[in-house]
Symmetry: C2
Subunit: 323 residues, 2 copies
Amino acid sequence: MFHTSLNKLLGIRYPIIQGALGGSTRPVSDATLVSCVSNAGGLGILAIWNQSNSRILKEIDRVRVLTDKPFGVNVAAIHSSYDFSKKVKVLAEAGIRIVTTGRGDPNIPAISILKDHGIKVLPVVATARQAMSVEKKGADAVVASGCEAGGHVGMITTLTLVPQVVDAVEIPVVAAGGIGDARGFVAALALGACGIQMGTRFVATRESILPLPLKEKILRASADDTVVTTMRTGWPTRALKSRFTEEWDKLNKRGASPRELRDFRRMVLKKVREDIEEDTIGAGQVCGMLNDLKSAKDIICEIIESACTIISGLEKTKSNNEL
Amino acid sequence: MFHTSLNKLLGIRYPIIQGALGGSTRPVSDATLVSCVSNAGGLGILAIWNQSNSRILKEIDRVRVLTDKPFGVNVAAIHSSYDFSKKVKVLAEAGIRIVTTGRGDPNIPAISILKDHGIKVLPVVATARQAMSVEKKGADAVVASGCEAGGHVGMITTLTLVPQVVDAVEIPVVAAGGIGDARGFVAALALGACGIQMGTRFVATRESILPLPLKEKILRASADDTVVTTMRTGWPTRALKSRFTEEWDKLNKRGASPRELRDFRRMVLKKVREDIEEDTIGAGQVCGMLNDLKSAKDIICEIIESACTIISGLEKTKSNNEL
C-alpha cells in the first residue's frame, strides 16, 4: 500500500520520513526514535549536528543494534566552520547510504561531496529555485519544506511550495511542514508529492527523549503559539513561544547590539542547562492538531489506515451528483 | 460531481468560491467577474468595501443582468467608522442571501446582524478559535484562510489551519489561501474542507478588470515575490513586492512616525491614481504556480476535470504494493 517512487528509492515500506530533530542539549532524533520509525516502515533520520565523530559513530552503531531497516542521517551546517568533506567521509565509511541535507536551506556544497561517496541525497529546500539547483547537483529527491514547519524554515507555505517544486523538477518530491496525520499525508500526495516528512509529530512521541513536560507543551499548544525566531541558532527557526523568545524579540525590536544578543543567547542556554523545562522547543504550526502522546509505530499505522478511508471518501465526493 | 455540504448550503454546482477581491481604485471582483464565476457553477462574491449604497445597488443589479445563478457579497470593515447595520440593511433589501464577512479576521459583530436578516453567513477566519466563536454566533459555514493567501492575512498556513478548524467546528469549512488548481482543491478536500475559495487565481483571469500589465506581474511572479505589508490598508496584507512595499518596510524599520507613514501612503495612492501600473497588487504565494491567463470558466472546469484524475491516481497509489 502507498508504494511510491520514494519507497523504491529508499527501500522503505511506507513513504514517511521522520525529519531530523535537534535540541538544545542533545538531538531529539537519536538512535531510539530513528530505529522505532524505521522498524515501523518509515525512514528514521539521525540528527548529528555539532557532534563529535566518535559520538556519531556510536549513535549509528546503536541504530544498527535496534533495527536492520534503512535509516538516514541529516547533515546541516549550524556553524560556518562546519567541514562537510570530513563529516561525509566519516558517514560514508560508517556505511551510511541515505542523507538529508540542510534545514530550511539545502546546503548545496554538501551535495556533490555526498554524491561522490555514492550516498543518496535528499536536500531540504524552501523554494522551487533551490529545488532546481540541487537537482542539477545530482540530488536523488528533494524535501520541500514549508514555513509552517518546526525548526529552520523558509518563507513559503507547504501547500504552495510542494506543487511549485513538483512542477520545477523531475526527481521525487517529499512534502514537509504542517503534516501530522493522514489528512496531511493524502493532501501531500494530491499536491504531487511522493511522500511526507514529519518532525513535530515525531517529537511528541513516547519514544522521543524530550522530557515529558516539554512534550506536553507541544500537545497543549495552539497553531498560533509558535513563532519564528533567530534566537536558537541564529537562523530563522520556528519554535513554541516562550518568555525567552519574547525577550529576544524585544531585544531585536529595540536594535540590540550583536554582543547583547550573544550574551542573551548564552544566558538562555545556561538556564536551559540548569532546568531543561525552560527550553524553547522547536515546533511547527501542526502542534495545534496534536493532542495525544503516541508511539512512532501507531502514528505511521494510523496514517496509512486513515489515508485509505480518506481516499475512499474522496472517490465518493467525486461521484456525488446530488442536487 | 463533487457535490458537498457547501453546494447544498449555497445552491451551487461546484464547491468553488471566488474570494472577494479589492483594489486601490475599484474592486476587482465586480459584476463581470462575479457573474462569470457564478455562471460557471461556482459562487462569485462582490467586494463592496467603502462603496456608496447607490454604487453597491447598481453593481448588484448588474450581476443580476449577467447571471441568474447564486452569488454573494463580502462585507469587511476597512475603516473603524464602517456601519455594519446600515450596510446589511441595504444588502438585505436588495435580496442578497449570501455574505462572507471579514478578510483575515471574521468581523464578528456583523454576523448576528446578518443572521437577523436571514442571510447565510460565511465568515473568513484565520484561527480555530475564531471559527468556534463565529459558529456560536450562528455562522452557516466558515472560510478558513491561511497566511499564504493574497490580501488580508493571519499567521497560520492553510495546511495546518484547515484540519484544526475542521476539528473545532460542526459547520462546513471552506479552505482558502494558496489554492490555484485541482491539486490544491483535492488537498483541501483531503484536509476535511467541503470546498475551496480562490482569490489570486481569479484576479489573473481574462474577465478581471485588473489592467493586463498587472495581471502579467502576477503570472510572472514567484512564490517568494510576495510580502506581508500594512501599507495598503493598515492591516497585514499579502501583496506582490514593489518599490513602495520596500520603502514602507524601511520606514517602519527605522521607526517612522504615524504621520510620516500616513503621508507616504497618501503619496503612493496619488502615484497609483496617476499610473495604475504602479499599483501594489494583493496576491498570494500561489502566484508562483500561475502561468496562463485563463477565463474563470476554464479555471473551474479544469479543476473539476483534473480533480477526477488526481483522485483516481490516489486510488492507484493506495493499492500499489510493488516492492
